[in-house]
Symmetry: C2
Subunit: 297 residues, 2 copies
């Protein structure tokens, strides 16, 4: 290394998604970020509601933290089931998403993460009774709902971040299953209104991941990291592990996200029974160490 | 319906993959197919070995059954781990695949289904110790192994059928994760040597499924059906259900496979604890009824 040329540092900054430290309230997560020297936090609507929206805004402002994301809007597929109940559910979903957009605006969140919903009538974790098998219709319903929500978000300075979820969640959580599909959809809206989330857990397997990250370019609104555990636990939702504990090769993905022009925060978002049972301060310390040793190129 | 024009019937014929009736030996599966009026059976190497290869050949010939597939070759990624042990494992895998090709030739199987293997060093269902995170290298190892195996298969009149597996099996079973990827790979070999499997469980979620089935065209060497259960059971390998018990809309996929020019057998291949616990004759009867009511367009 030459003495005159400093080593090139990634422009990215580590952030805590508060669901990683599930026991922490907004106040505790904000305090934890400050104590551990993190500059940004990803918040969840449920925890923000418990703390109170105004109180949460005050907490992050006074701490000088960025809000890297608000999780989450979405679940937009109800209308595809058809009938009066479905139409009512679809209207309720739009209303709820407008509230989520308002909250993201108040918090000054970099984006509102959108988990778009699965086949209408299917509830995560439950054996379905009445539901629609029509996947193309569910996907069309997402696009239709975004037509209504994107301008609303744009007026409030909020970017909707479409999150493609791993295909194993297609039935119950997100009919957006690949980054290509999310980018295709995002590109039909202005860049300031709709972007995409790159989450390593959801995209690591995709043969097109590098070309689609490059294609996404400045549409990348959020970069989230966690590992993909093997074998998966009984509840596949909790297959997200600490970086380094699973099968993902992070550095090439982080490099691709950097090369695509992303300069935002890198949120660690882990759903995992063992991580949730651990001391949150230890989790944050481990996550900082693994970020350096495993995630950055 | 005009009296002079008979209704157009699908060219497809229902077949039993013997793993659906896991308790049945080759002899019992052959007998079951005959009793239930099925013309073809998909066999597994383990069961063929137990029955004896020559005895299995005799059984299917005397019964007048087609062998719609032999399951399975593959697990070709070992070399990507590097080192002498890996090289040895890779040579052993090639030898084993040549034996599988010989067996498929003896049986007159329509194809040898190839489950190409996951990240080298990862064993299905086990927590990995030493393994490679390098997914592109594992994918390259598959192509390299196929370079050696495809001509060998061609000389023996056997078609290798590359099976893309659902992305949730990428780490441990198949680094071929999409139909597009399987078709890309198949197209680098002569049509009589390498084709692809379309298995509803593995591809139903794919936003590109219809265009990739059309693109596969005459490369489709096998069409396998079963449903995708929701929620998934604790062992995700056993998430394959009887058609109609899960979330898949079969008719459009079957229509696309027909439109692509496929005229072979439709194998029902179910891995499911409840189906395996049931009376195999009842399973075959249900599968015939569901084939008519759910699978055919």
């Amino acid at each position: 290394m030459s003495a005159t040329e400093p080593p090139q540092q990634p422009a990215l900054k580590l952030a805590l998604n508060q669901r990683t430290t599930k026991r922490w309230t907004v106040a505790e997560a904000v305090d934890g970020c400050v104590r551990h020297g993190l500059e940004a936090v990803g918040l969840w609507r449920e925890e923000v509601a418990e703390q109170g929206l105004a109180a949460s805004v005050k907490l992050v402002r006074e701490a000088g933290l960025r809000v890297s994301s608000l999780c989450r809007g979405g679940f937009l597929t109800a209308s595809a089931l058809g009938g009066a109940n479905a139409a009512r559910a679809a209207r309720a979903a739009l209303d709820d998403n407008r509230r989520a957009i308002d909250e993201a605006a108040e918090l000054g969140a970099a984006c509102l993460v959108m988990v778009v919903g699965g086949l209408p009538g299917i509830v995560p974790g439950e054996r379905p009774t009445a539901f629609s098998h029509d996947l193309p219709a569910a996907r069309a319903a997402v696009a239709e709902a975004l037509d209504a929500l994107a301008p609303y978000a744009g007026e409030r300075g909020v970017k909707l971040a479409l999150e493609p979820l791993h295909p194993m969640y297609c039935a119950d959580r997100a009919v957006l299953s690949t980054l290509a599909q999310a980018v295709d959809l995002a590109l039909s809206y202005p860049e300031e209104q709709v972007g995409v989330v790159v989450d390593t857990f959801h995209v690591w397997w995709d043969p097109q991941v590098f070309e689609q990250i490059a294609r996404a370019g400045r549409r990348i609104a959020s970069y989230q990291v966690c590992d993909h555990l093997h074998p998966l636990p009984a509840d596949v939702l909790l297959g997200r592990g600490m970086m380094g504990d699973g099968v993902i090769d992070f550095a090439p993905i982080t490099r691709a996200v950097l090369d695509a022009g992303y300069t935002g925060d890198v949120e660690v978002e882990i759903f995992n029974a063992d991580v949730w049972a651990a001391d949150p301060d230890e989790v944050v310390a481990t996550m900082k160490e693994r970020y350096r040793s495993v995630v950055t190129p």
